[in-house]
Symmetry: C2
Subunit: 220 residues, 2 copies
């Protein structure tokens, strides 16, 4: 997260002060979520990506603080213990999680924060930050399309593809836990759909925390 | 309301079946609501305007069923008694109200219905149709702008303008009862804002009532 470069949106002159929101995108792999997330970030200067913490070592080319916050196991365990993670999970031998403080600072400053996490992470976020959370589930348009996207390499065996399809099916069973559902038939239309959701959620009364002052001025 | 001309949106092939929503626009006069409503209707074939019932006689040029449903007093009272009005109010000697049945038919067919009503009508709709209701309050950008818009004719006395400003102030005090707040600094941007809200609300999980079937098909 690097909102330090530009002035906080909530403090720009002429703007109603606002609290940011947490935008979660989840989907089975192969549904186009990563492409949508990238297009959103490129087109929106008020949206920043959440940077996860992890205990796994950096890979070549990864920049600490941009790609991940790289932590030792003891440090990570301490953050869990102190309630400093909004969600966390073990994947094989490594821990991954979302530090609370940078997210909270962004929200107070009026930035919106994008999360690319699965249904388990979303469930934890929902427990820890319900009022700030806006969750979107991306679905593929058809079984045929999903299979085509998951059959990424020609040499994949039918068995491998079947396993990926089964995993996608399990992930998709969690769609009823999300606020919005976008069927990704067309990537351009899906990006616009998610942009509309973000624009609308920013106009929700309870996120525009400076409205009472604004209307008081209007009413003289 | 004239959705009869085109096939019900919820039954078009390849579409997920959906339930329509009720979109309420309210604002003090002079805030630009009517212009926004007209632009919305022009640009959206899935949105129809709610036609009110009234006991006042038709004015020259008004078409029954398009501008208003013109009813006798006894007929209107019977509709109130039978719970056939979603909201109603007396204005001077005449009654105005929103018939329930055409709205319900539109929602079931997957159309969205636009309402241009004040905070009192909105309160009644909220009691009678909460889950289907999406409410937007339009605010003027500044006192100076509001006064300029209310000072429509050069010969208006300061006293007349003061009264209009006071009335607008009273109306504006109801902004906390609305889901979304749009400050109309620029008409084009405000139309886009309301279009985003409509697009987003259509993507809400609970309005896409055909999703369970759709995902079942996806999961095989």
């Amino acid at each position: 997260m690097s909102p330090q470069a530009t002035p906080a949106p909530s403090r720009r002159p002429g703007r109603i002060q606002r609290r940011g929101l947490m935008l979660v995108l989840s989907s089975p792999s192969g549904a186009g979520k990563t492409t949508i997330a990238r297009a959103l970030l490129d087109g929106d200067r008020n949206l920043v990506m959440s940077v996860s913490a992890t205990t796994r070592p950096p890979r070549p080319g990864e920049v600490p603080g941009r790609d991940y916050h790289f932590l030792g196991h003891a440090e990570f365990e301490a953050m869990i213990r102190d309630g400093q993670l909004l969600e966390h999970a073990r994947v094989f031998d490594n821990m991954y999680g979302t530090p609370r403080q940078p997210v909270e600072e962004a929200l107070v400053g009026g930035w919106d924060v994008l999360f690319d996490i699965d249904w388990q992470g979303t469930q934890q976020l929902r427990q820890n930050a319900r009022a700030d959370l806006v969750s979107i589930f991306i679905l593929p348009p058809s079984v045929a399309e999903l299979e085509q996207r998951l059959r990424s390499r020609a040499q994949d065996s039918d068995e491998v593809v079947r396993k990926r399809m089964a995993k996608a099916g399990d992930e998709m069973s969690h769609w009823p836990e999300y606020d919005y559902i976008v069927v990704n038939s067309d990537i351009g239309a899906s990006v616009e759909a998610v942009q509309s959701i973000l624009a609308a959620e920013r106009l929700k009364r309870e996120r525009q925390i400076g409205l009472a002052d604004f209307v008081n001025d209007l009413r003289g």
